[in-house]
Point group: C2
Chain length 458, copies 2
């Protein structure tokens, strides 16, 4: 192919930098809209390198007019022409056609027509929706947010570790795992010689790496075979799980605050058009809410204080769907949102949860009742991040695991037996963070090909 | 925790930059070795932030002498002391102790003693081997190579797409997939309502994104339930799969050459100590071989030419284990290595393979016999990357899929039906690339927790 095309994103960059584009350029992309009045036509082309389209102008005098007039929405095209600056218009430049090629046509059955489509409708064409405005923006932000998180951890000396997907343990013993089998023989466990399942967390596998490299993180897929048919549950999702040796709960919260602020700020700085789109079309108030998170100091509140605050709220007449507030309960989303939105009016860590409602590996506090856990609550959603200091004392951890009937983790106990130390870590559900950053309300609308109960077309 | 420790890697950086460290520093890490002669002792400490250890000197005059003398290999320790430059010694600085704390002890059962251990032995303690020199280096390079690849693609306008792990298709129809089930009912397919398996490739899922964003890539886990018990096969591994719209086979090879050269060079520039270690201790000639790849221009040879070259080799008396060279055969590793090592003496793309030995989605050439595939061969291993131009012509692709009994991919065909275009892509087995870059000879020794047939301890 001898064509040397320029990215539309590159033209935008050059124009905004004041660079001149004297000779003709060639762009290659997909037609978003095409309209003409019989003598002059306007073709909007997007090539995915920019959220913005290039506006192509073609006139009857030009030999390609009749060809271009036939280009339907969705067609793949090659357009050559002159970049003409249009500082007085909505878009900063137009391309005046000198040559045009139809690379790939579409027929009437193309489901992504110009009109507005519902997210439900687009969900059913997950392979085509990236060409729509909303999903163009969603997946661009998904890319930038992913790399912003990598960047934060790499810049701060964290090492990326690929923890395994197929594993023999079920993490916190929460059940609801997907089993992995082969059907080569009658014995389903034959491939590995034992029962295996898809990982629910990389934490247990990454802790030994923290005890060698000091600061590490995982960033990969995790799985839950839950039938929860909510807008926030998917059976396959990506998780970031950092783990730091020689780091206590306060140090843990510093890193959580740092990475959340850094990654949100990076998205807002890098994806201005996309974020404006979300703020206007998807979630009014989004940018203000995110700015507040970036610019606020995250507060801390103990679980004990949180319970008192919720009891007070009820005394003052606040209505909760779950009004039975008592010490030992797990906080529901409505409680978390009340605290972060009405009381703290900003991000807040709830720390020191009752040990009964948290995982076996969290460090026991001296009160004998609570563990050194920290959940980050933010306005708009409630819990965004969950973390804890880990129990580094071998005897206490062994006791906890015995009580919880957690076996076959001798190797995990070795991390306490051989040069163990104070260490902490946390987990971020990446897709939920992306929902928070884009304002998208359904996890199915931030994943390329969402997997939920009874839903796996692709 | 009030201790504010400095990374050993940071001390190395400051010392090499000529910065002075006047006040005492505190380091936290794990003891590698400890020896003393009764009046002066030397403690080597590594904290995973540098391949190099810090040498801690403690003397009988100092009050912590007796404590430090008890520190065993593997212990977690906190050491405070003065950084003393030692430009005349092997290591550029020492730390003269002023305070010491034993954070986590080890007993006699600690399996990672000072002596040299075999890779086989270390494989059985995958949770502890990151603390050994070799695996410290391997996983540091793994991190750097991962980010170098991300960097290359991000810098060149590729968008990262998280393609799904659980899927209904088996990629190239190669079989040997892991099935994913839940045991909640008798019907194993009940969770998703149909049979699902672990992905063998993200390519089919990422192609629709290329036809919206022009340049995209996946980087995630893939799975093969193969019993191949070789040093190059793992049942779980990471793959990079870039895909480019409006890009033909030549453009594809440009990107392959670019990303291989960039990522290898980045590792060599960033991980000098680690690469010196591999070059000295693991694979003499490694650095020379990698430099040759970085500095050479990758050659191209057609499959037809390759067959002729192999036939000539046999005429000239060259011995192959598989001496039956005929057009239509799949090249074996020995053939590939002969071509790249003996004939081309450098990296070479073999292009235009017989259609019968390649996947259904590869573009048919006009000769009716071959497809526009390209495999990159490199000295030392043979095939490192495989790619192709994709069949964009709907009728030809449908025919191929019908012949191959590949069904249920209507959505995939849509990418040819609606605004399709010339496009290409390739796949890199990340773990094999890492083997190539480190000189490590067994895939089990470059993965954090390798999964192979009958082997899944963790």
């Amino acid at each position: 192919m001898k064509i040397s095309a320029i990215d539309i994103g590159e033209i935008y960059k050059k124009v905004s930098n004041g660079e001149t584009l004297d000779s003709d350029v060639t762009i290659q992309g997909w037609v978003k809209t095409n309209r003409n009045n019989g003598s002059v036509g306007f073709l909007e082309v997007n090539d995915g390198t920019s959220f913005n389209n290039a506006q192509v102008v073609y006139t009857k005098e030009e030999e390609h007019y009749d060809l271009i007039a036939t280009f339907r929405t969705g067609s793949a095209v090659t357009i050559t022409g002159k970049v003409v600056l249009t500082p007085e218009m909505k878009q900063p430049f137009e391309i005046h056609v000198t040559d045009a090629i139809l690379e790939g046509a579409v027929d009437d059955s193309y489901p992504l027509q110009k009109k507005q489509h519902s997210f439900e409708f687009l969900r059913d064409i997950a392979h085509l929706r990236p060409r729509s405005n909303t999903f163009n923006a969603v997946f661009r932000v998904r890319n930038v947010l992913t790399m912003a998180l990598h960047e934060y951890f790499q810049n701060n000396g964290f090492m990326y570790v690929h923890t395994p997907i197929i594993t023999t343990n079920d993490g916190e013993g929460a059940g609801n795992v997907f089993d992995v089998v082969t059907h080569e023989t009658d014995d389903e466990n034959s491939f590995y010689g034992q029962k295996v399942n898809l990982t629910v967390t990389g934490q247990l596998h990454v802790e030994p790496f923290a005890l060698a490299f000091k600061r590490v993180y995982t960033f990969g897929p995790a799985f839950r075979a839950e039938h929860s048919n909510t807008v926030r549950h998917a059976s396959e999702f990506w998780m970031i799980e950092p783990e730091m040796a020689f780091c206590d709960l306060d140090g843990n919260m510093d890193v959580i605050e740092g990475c959340i602020k850094y990654s949100i700020k990076k998205v807002m700085d890098t994806c201005k058009e996309e974020m404006d789109f979300f703020n206007t079309r998807v979630d009014t108030g989004l940018i203000e809410r995110l700015n507040q998170v970036v610019n606020s100091e995250f507060k801390k509140m103990t679980y004990d204080e949180a319970i008192d605050v919720l009891k007070d709220a009820i005394k003052q007449g606040h209505q909760f769907d779950n009004p039975n507030i008592e010490w030992g309960m797990d906080l529901q989303s409505e409680h978390e949102r009340y605290i972060t939105e009405q009381v703290v009016k900003g991000p807040v860590f709830i720390i020191n949860y009752p040990k009964e409602i948290k995982a076996f590996y969290m460090r026991a506090n001296d009160d004998g009742k609570t563990v050194a856990a920290c959940d980050l609550l933010v306005p708009g959603v409630g819990e965004l991040v969950g973390g804890s200091q880990r129990e580094e004392r071998l005897d206490l951890l062994e006791k906890k695991m015995k009580e919880g009937h957690i076996n076959n983790l001798d190797w995990y106990l070795d991390t306490r037996k051989y040069g163990g130390c104070v260490h902490s870590g946390f987990g971020i559900g990446f897709d939920r963070l992306l929902m928070y950053v884009t304002g998208m309300q359904n996890i199915r609308d931030v994943q390329p090909y969402p997997r939920t109960s009874n839903n796996i077309k692709y």
